[in-house]
């Protein structure tokens, strides 16, 4: 089913998530293979961020499990969860940089908490991570003083601060101009290549989905379930579900059968 092969980094089993007892997404099951860029697709408000919150430990599930390796995240105690959290980084939708800290301090804070490095080394490492995402020279700026794209990139630098094997990105390129969005996509691919990071990317940006995704799941808001899974390109080629096709062809596809020829590329 999935394009990339490899051991699953994270596996979701029968996960039901919601707020106040009312489910938003029901019975999700999938696994994210090591080394893949796994995209969580779906229209606005279908529950993509909700799924992400359930996977990173911010929203206890109504049912089901999230497995990191063999360990069930939500069944591990608070200490176990904290230890598991160390294995992944998260970039939130708006960047979620701590506004009272400079970009460098944002990246440095987790390092200071969890590494044995000296303050000087932490500072060097933070500067290096910022340089990695193209923010050399902006270390001492505050989040309010940089553009939205720079905030997202700084958020990405913070997400990889502790060298995690798995990084979650929530809408990394939403709200950015096409060039900046493309830059973020390139960054994701580059980091995957260079640091062997597995990415779980929540997005509804079609260009991004097709450019970086090599596996994924498609959530439907109407039914509150996953309606397709697999590589986005393959889904575009072979899916029979009108909701998936309409999404992947920006609503061009209206009829039965295959999507229109000109949309395939």
């Amino acid at each position: 089913m999935s394009a990339a092969t490899g051991v699953p980094v994270v596996t979701v089993e029968g996960l039901t998530l919601g707020y106040g007892g009312a489910p938003v997404q029901r019975d999700l099951s999938f696994s994210v293979p090591r080394g893949s860029v796994f995209v969580v697709m779906g229209g606005s408000g279908c529950g993509k961020s909700t799924l992400l919150r359930g996977m990173v430990g911010l929203l206890p599930p109504l049912a089901g499990r999230v497995l990191y390796g063999e360990t069930s995240f939500w069944d591990a105690g608070p200490d176990g969860r904290e230890a598991l959290s160390r294995a992944f980084g998260v970039l939130f939708q708006g960047g979620a940089l701590w506004s009272s800290l400079t970009l460098a301090e944002n990246v440095a804070l987790p390092m200071r908490e969890y590494t044995a490095l000296s303050p000087g080394e932490v500072q060097d490492l933070a500067a290096y991570k910022l340089a990695l995402v193209g923010l050399a020279g902006a270390e001492d700026r505050y989040p309010a003083e940089v553009s939205g794209g720079m905030r997202k990139r700084a958020g990405l630098a913070r997400a990889i601060a502790l060298d995690p094997r798995l990084v979650y990105l929530d809408e990394p390129s939403a709200g950015l101009d096409p060039v900046t969005a493309r830059h973020i996509d390139d960054l994701v691919l580059g980091l995957r290549e260079a640091l062997d990071i597995t990415f779980v990317v929540v997005t509804h940006e079609l260009a991004s989905i097709l450019a970086i995704g090599n596996d994924g799941i498609f959530l439907d808001g109407g039914t509150g379930t996953a309606i397709a899974s697999g590589s986005p390109k393959e889904l575009l080629e072979s899916s029979r579900d009108p909701r998936v096709l309409r999404f992947l062809t920006r609503g061009e596809w209206r009829g039965e059968g295959s999507p229109p020829k000109e949309e395939r590329s």
């Binding site: 408000g45 919150r53 990173v56 430990g57 911010l58 904290e82 959290s85 160390r86 992944f88 998260v90 939130f92 939708q93 708006g94 979620a96 940089l97 701590w98 506004s99 009272s100 804070l109 987790p110 908490e113 969890y114 913070r158 808001g221």
Partner: protein, 394 residues
Amino acid sequence: MHRTDRKRTVGAPGASGEALDAERLRCGPPENGEVRVELRGPWTLDRPLPSLGPVEAALARGGVERLRVTDGGLGEWDSSVLVYIEDIEAMAAERGALVDTGALPRGIRTLLELARSARGRPIERVEQPRPPLLVRVGDRAVWAWRGAVDGLEFGGEVAAAVWRFVRGRARYRRSDLLLAIQQCGAGALPIVSLLNFLVGLILGFVAATQLREWGAEIFVANLVGIGMVRALAAVVTGVTMAGRTGASFAAQLGTMQVNEEIDALRTFGIPPAEFLVLPRMMALGLMMPLLALYAVVVGLLGGAVVGISLLHFTLAEYAHQTYRALDLTDLGVGIFSAAVFGVLVALAGCYKGLRCGRSAAAVGEATTSAVVIGIVSIVVAMAFITWGCNILGI
């Protein structure tokens, strides 16, 4: 939905209006089941729409199958012509007649089509109907219960954070603590001075007018002294800080919640209770006693102003009487109360901020209720402290 209403109000001008209408709208009699509606001249929002009366009259004659809306020399037009055509369509639909807009300018047709396709799309979320009373009462109870549990949970988190602090393991930034101390210390001095001076003054004045009748003016010093030192300085300062610092804590943390900054802390395993609540709570818990001490001095000064200017004591007399009236226990109670109030105000602000919803409006609500909870808890705590002192005979 309100088409008929508008038809009545807009289409009810006098004779001149009707003449104007006729220039812009021509509605022929039915021919072979077809009515021609011709739109002419300018159709812009700055003039009233013609009455739908003629069209309605034509339809009312019966046997009309089609309405042809055509361009009979249409001038400048804007969305007014679109709503008018939609009104015609609605009216025709009621009578089972079709409307043909094919002969209208292309722009109008496109816009009509766009609106039509957008209307056809279902709205994603429908308003829930109001549940019955019993359900609402139940919801309320569950909600209150959850709130209580949640409050306890927060209390537990803070207690754990304090415990880690005691063992020297708490994760927070010293600079945050210093910033909070500065914010709720020096920054609050002017307003604390003003309020406590006035309270001292008012207390002295009220006492003076009463005690003068008994020739016991000198006891103004006792009343102002004990009142300010034991309770009022702490309460007035606490209420001021609830409005000033408690609100600001709630707004800060609420904004962080909206920006998912709190979530980011959690995913790094840094408890917000340690990183955010602890420094603020310590800052206010430390600064409130100092502020209250300062407030006592200012309040006593307020009383002294009354004693000197109204009752003609010398400063030395007044000060001596104050000194005789007070003992250290009073001051101890006042300072202790102030520290408790500081912690309560900080906790109320932080709690409301951390539990804030994810919108700007929610930050406003969080701020408001932080102030309310802060003030209420000050008063309740004051009652408990007074009760406790009574039991202990202090």
